[in-house]
Amino acid sequence: MAAAAEEKELVLLDFWVSPFGQRCRIAMAEKGLEFEYREEDLGNKSDLLLRSNPVHKKIPVLLHAGRPVCESLIILQYLDDAFPDTPHLLPPANSSSDAAYARARARFWADYVDKKLYDCGSRLWRLKGEPQAAARREMVEILRTLEAELGDGEFFGGGEGGRLGFVDVALVPFTAWFYSYERCGGFSVEEVAPKLAAWARRCGQIDSVAKHLPSPEKVYDFIAVLKKKYGVE
């Protein structure tokens, strides 16, 4: 029943393939937080979604004891702030400039993922000819830039005890889209960014990630449906 669900501690309004929603699922799993997952029909959005995010009407929305938090990276930071006794994603703030610097760096790179990846990926599958080629070049650049930031690290860092951190959680859902980017763009992530590809495989071994990401094939099928819907050849 709607009323009982709203009283539950954590409810996530989401859509199965959304990388932004997956960030929240993985974050809560990493933190050991129980939550109720609610699949939204984006063609027929629930009253709860429309009430909870009247400004954007988008998923994901996290409801915590009925109060909505919107925007995936804001949700991630909220989870750190509201549940301080759970494994942190960002290094905890302690007014040392080193901690603040690590947090700033993590926020910068998560923001970079937000600014660049989804949009460029969409252009890769939606466009043809030169615009698609341009999107491919851009995607390769983005992946190489991210790889440079990863360096020789196991993860992007900052997470509790060497676990997934803020940037890892922000980026990892897009690894399910790598296969689609490769197919649409005609390139190989392994070739252009082998360390990033290795990071993606490493993340895939982690329970919270394995549990909450769709298979790359499912994502590709989803894109095929979208392509048909938008009349892309």
Partner: protein, 236 residues
């Protein structure tokens, strides 16, 4: 102990993003060296400090660069938190209120920024400009509602004092003055968005904003021509 090492800010006097950082540095009474960048001839320091975007503002703290204005503001707030000696906080302390502040700050840059860019730099026709103005006004009307929600009857989005959303939106006020002159009417129209109009006056009057939020529309419009020239030569 709050961070050791000197503060240096690479900025442009008209940049909403640099302005918001300067307001916060002023709020915290932090001394810093300000470097005015020439966007037509970016310094090596800027290019080395922000290789990804090559843009201002960049805050260098003890030589280490912090980029992206909203990230910089939160960095400053964390290294020099509110409390000690009456120093104000920029971010709310309550986790939920913090999420709300971040939401509206993201909204400002998500909706106001593209409209602002289009009005001043992107529009090629009067129609395009009119569309962009309408988008800006619509965003400001939503922010009028947000102001009520966030301020709860107090003078600022942050409550009694200037907070995160105040500085994020406040950074645009200089250019809004120039836009008002350009289009012959006020973007923050007291008839449509009275709370924001009153907020603008209060914000501009704060010590933190004085001297960093421009108010000379002519100077800004003149500078706009320079900026247009720089991007045209870049496009060649």
């Amino acid at each position: 102990m709050a961070g050791s090492g000197e503060l240096k800010l690479l900025g442009v006097w008209s940049s909403p993003y640099a302005i918001r950082v300067r307001v916060v540095l002023n709020l915290k009474s932090l001394p810093y060296e300000y470097v005015e960048e020439n966007l037509g001839d970016k310094s090596d320091l800027l290019l080395a400090s922000n290789p990804v975007y090559k843009s201002v503002p960049v805050l260098l703290h003890g030589g280490r660069p912090v980029n992206e204005s909203q990230v910089i503001v939160q960095y400053i707030d964390e290294v020099w938190p509110g409390g000690a000696g009456g120093r104000p906080s920029v971010m709310p302390s309550d986790p939920y209120e913090r999420a709300v502040a971040r939401f509206w700050a993201a909204y400002v840059d998500d909706k106001v920024r593209p409209a602002w860019l289009a009005i001043l730099f992107g529009s090629k026709t009067e129609e395009e400009r009119a569309v962009a103005v309408a988008q800006a006004v619509a965003a400001l009307e939503t922010l009028e509602g947000a102001f009520g929600e966030c301020s709860k009857g107090k003078p600022f989005f942050g409550g009694d004092g200037v907070g995160f959303v105040d500085v994020v939106l406040g950074g645009y006020l200089g250019w809004f003055t120039a836009i008002d002159k350009l289009i012959g009417r006020r973007l923050i129209d007291p008839a449509r968005t009275p709370a924001l109009a009153a907020w603008e006056e209060r914000f501009r009057a704060t010590d933190a904003a004085k001297g960093v939020v421009p108010d000379d529309a002519d100077k800004l419009l003149e500078f706009r021509q320079t900026l247009l020239g720089w991007s045209a030569s870049k496009a060649k």
